[in-house]
């Protein structure tokens, strides 16, 4: 087993545990925004996509990478916007009546 794998597993499980703790405290009320939010965060695959699309690679790889950038950026931009749009609507009593 390589050291990189061990390090990666440490990171994975600590993040998973942190995520579990934090996410289990999100109330039912906010579960749909939570989904849109984690969806936006998962657009972090943009990180890998950028390297694939910008590399000095063959045409096939470049095109596939560009499609990946496209898909990931839709998630990032759309996900954050819609999360915020939903959260803006959640008002306590005393809001617009």
């Amino acid at each position: 087993m390589s050291l990189t794998l061990i390090f990666g597993l440490y990171v994975f499980f600590l993040a998973a545990f942190t995520g579990y703790q934090v996410i289990s405290k999100v109330p039912h009320l906010l579960h749909t925004p939570l989904m849109a939010f984690t969806n936006a965060i998962s657009g972090i695959s943009l990180v890998g996509s950028l390297l694939a699309a910008g590399g000095h690679y063959g045409t096939v790889s470049t095109v596939l990478g560009a499609v990946a950038v496209l898909a990931a950026s839709i998630n990032v931009v759309g996900g954050f916007l819609i999360t915020d749009r939903m959260l803006r609507m959640f008002k306590k009593k005393g809001g617009a009546r």
Binding site: L29, A40, G48, G54, L70, F80, K91
Partner: protein
């Protein structure tokens, strides 16, 4: 090993991004701070993208071409902006399913590029395993989410599609995929095996979602969320990138956790949802297709009669369901509540965890209609109050108020916690027809003596109530 100054800077940016994502999620735990959380995560995302561009150009020299990146980013941002700003709240489950598909697609394609460019023989055991899993999960998430989207949109039947040997063949395909990844570890240059893994992933996505019925959509959407996250994490392992591992784990566990909650709210195990094909039972179908259900006939009331009941009520609990979303009746609900409140009637909303097609679906719809969120109550909080309530107004909900879950051991939903709408003095049920709901189960509530059915489009009916009460 010591990193160069530039590398250190990039890694610190990634670290900052990871911390911001976790803090953002933490802020999402409270409606008061949630918007700040989104802002934190947005800053994190900018840091991660900037770090990647710096890394690609300055440190490794991998990024040499910009035109593709720029064009894709521009189009993606434009489409994302459109989807973010103009998709109606009633279409939220469809949007979430679609964006899971994009997530899976992005990750899957990155995996293919990795294999094409760095691949084959030169990959370490870790890299090839991670890339294999990444591509399989990415492909599965992509087609699975498209299937979920199709079912939600009605392109594909919402009924579970089953056939003989379904579970066995799916299991065989999963085993085959894992076997092929194992083979790739031994022979990393076996390109055919790599593409076979991708193909099996594509097929599995379709076949795994096919038998899952519309009523189980909340769980499916959570699961797809989880798969998308795990696929992103696998990418992190393949690229040796911690921010991807962390975000993938956060996303993966959020989906998993929500899925568990949804399953628990339906009193069913995860595996039961995945392999149970809820609502496919032939005997319930026969009942649905029968001309007249056996037993007492439901008490169908007119709009005027129901409006009279509401006029006399001092307290009303609204139970919203998917039918409210379908007829976009959330604003009409709010208008009726306003009129009732001016008459001195107390109006509250009871939200079942699995009402609708995704977790928290009803909360969002009611928020859109300006219903304050402190008027919304979870099942555990409000359930005992029904017996002291004059009217339970059920708007297009079915299974979540079906008393069979409490009493009928042979019912497929037996044991599922339900909202006790039947305990209210009068239960007014708005429904389009007397047909069974999405899960295909008859509802005893509709034939109870204290229940009044008002048939027709929920939005129209609610507007007629409001008009009648204003007179």
């Amino acid at each position: 090993m010591t990193l160069s100054l530039a590398e250190t800077f990039v890694q610190l940016l990634y670290l900052a991004a990871s911390i911001l994502f976790v803090l953002g999620l933490k802020d999402l735990g409270d409606a008061q701070t949630a918007r700040r959380g989104v802002l934190l995560a947005e800053v994190g995302m900018v840091a991660a993208v900037a770090g990647t561009l710096l890394y690609g150009v300055g440190v490794t020299g991998v990024i040499v071409r910009w035109e593709w990146i720029l064009v894709a980013l521009l189009i993606g941002s434009a489409v994302g902006t459109g989807m973010g700003l103009w998709i109606p709240m009633t279409k939220m489950p469809e949007r979430i399913a679609l964006s899971h598909a994009f997530g899976g697609l992005a990750v899957g394609l990155v995996g293919v590029v990795e294999y094409l460019e760095h691949g084959g023989a030169k990959m370490s055991t870790l890299q090839i395993t991670a890339t294999g899993l990444e591509v399989a999960l990415g492909a599965l998430t992509f087609t699975g989410s498209l299937m979920a989207f199709g079912k939600l949109q009605g392109f594909i039947t919402g009924r579970p599609v089953t056939y003989v040997g379904q579970n066995a063949s799916n299991m065989a395909m999963i085993a085959g995929t894992l076997g092929l990844i194992g083979l790739l570890v031994l022979q990393p240059d076996a390109a055919w095996a790599f593409y076979a893994v991708a193909t099996l992933g594509v097929l599995l996505g379709v076949l795994l979602v096919l038998p899952i019925g519309g009523a189980d959509m909340p769980v499916v959407i959570c699961l797809l969320n989880s798969y998308a996250g795990l696929a992103a994490s696998a990418t992190g392992f393949a690229l040796g990138n911690n921010v991807l591992i962390i975000c993938g784990a956060l996303d993966g566990f959020s989906g998993f956790l929500l899925g568990m909650m949804m399953s628990k709210a339906m009193n069913r195990s995860f595996s039961n949802v995945l392999f149970g094909a809820f609502g496919a039972a032939p005997e319930t179908k026969a009942v649905t297709e029968g001309a007249a259900p056996a037993g007492p006939a439901p008490n169908v009331g007119s709009v005027e009669e129901a409006a009279e009941v509401l006029r006399a009520a001092r307290s009303v609990i609204v139970v919203p369901g998917y039918g409210m979303a379908v007829s976009q009746a959330q604003h009409a609900v709010r208008d009726l509540a306003n009129v009732l409140q001016t008459h001195g009637c107390e109006v509250r909303y009871a939200i079942h965890p699995v009402a609708g097609r995704m977790p928290g679906h009803m909360n969002v719809l009611l928020a859109e209609a300006n219903v304050p969120y402190d008027h919304l109550f979870d099942l555990e909080v409000i359930n005992d109050d029904f017996s002291a309530t004059d009217v339970a107004l059920v708007v297009g909900a079915n299974d979540v108020v079906n008393p069979a879950a409490r009493s009928n051991q042979s019912s497929p939903i037996y044991g599922m916690p339900i909202l006790s709408a039947d305990m209210a003095k009068t239960c007014v049920v708005l429904k389009r027809s007397l047909n069974a709901g999405f899960a295909g189960i008859e509802n005893e509530l509709f034939v109870r003596s204290n229940t009044m059915m008002v048939l027709g489009d929920a939005k129209k009916t609610l507007m007629q109530f409001t008009a009648a009460l204003k007179e």
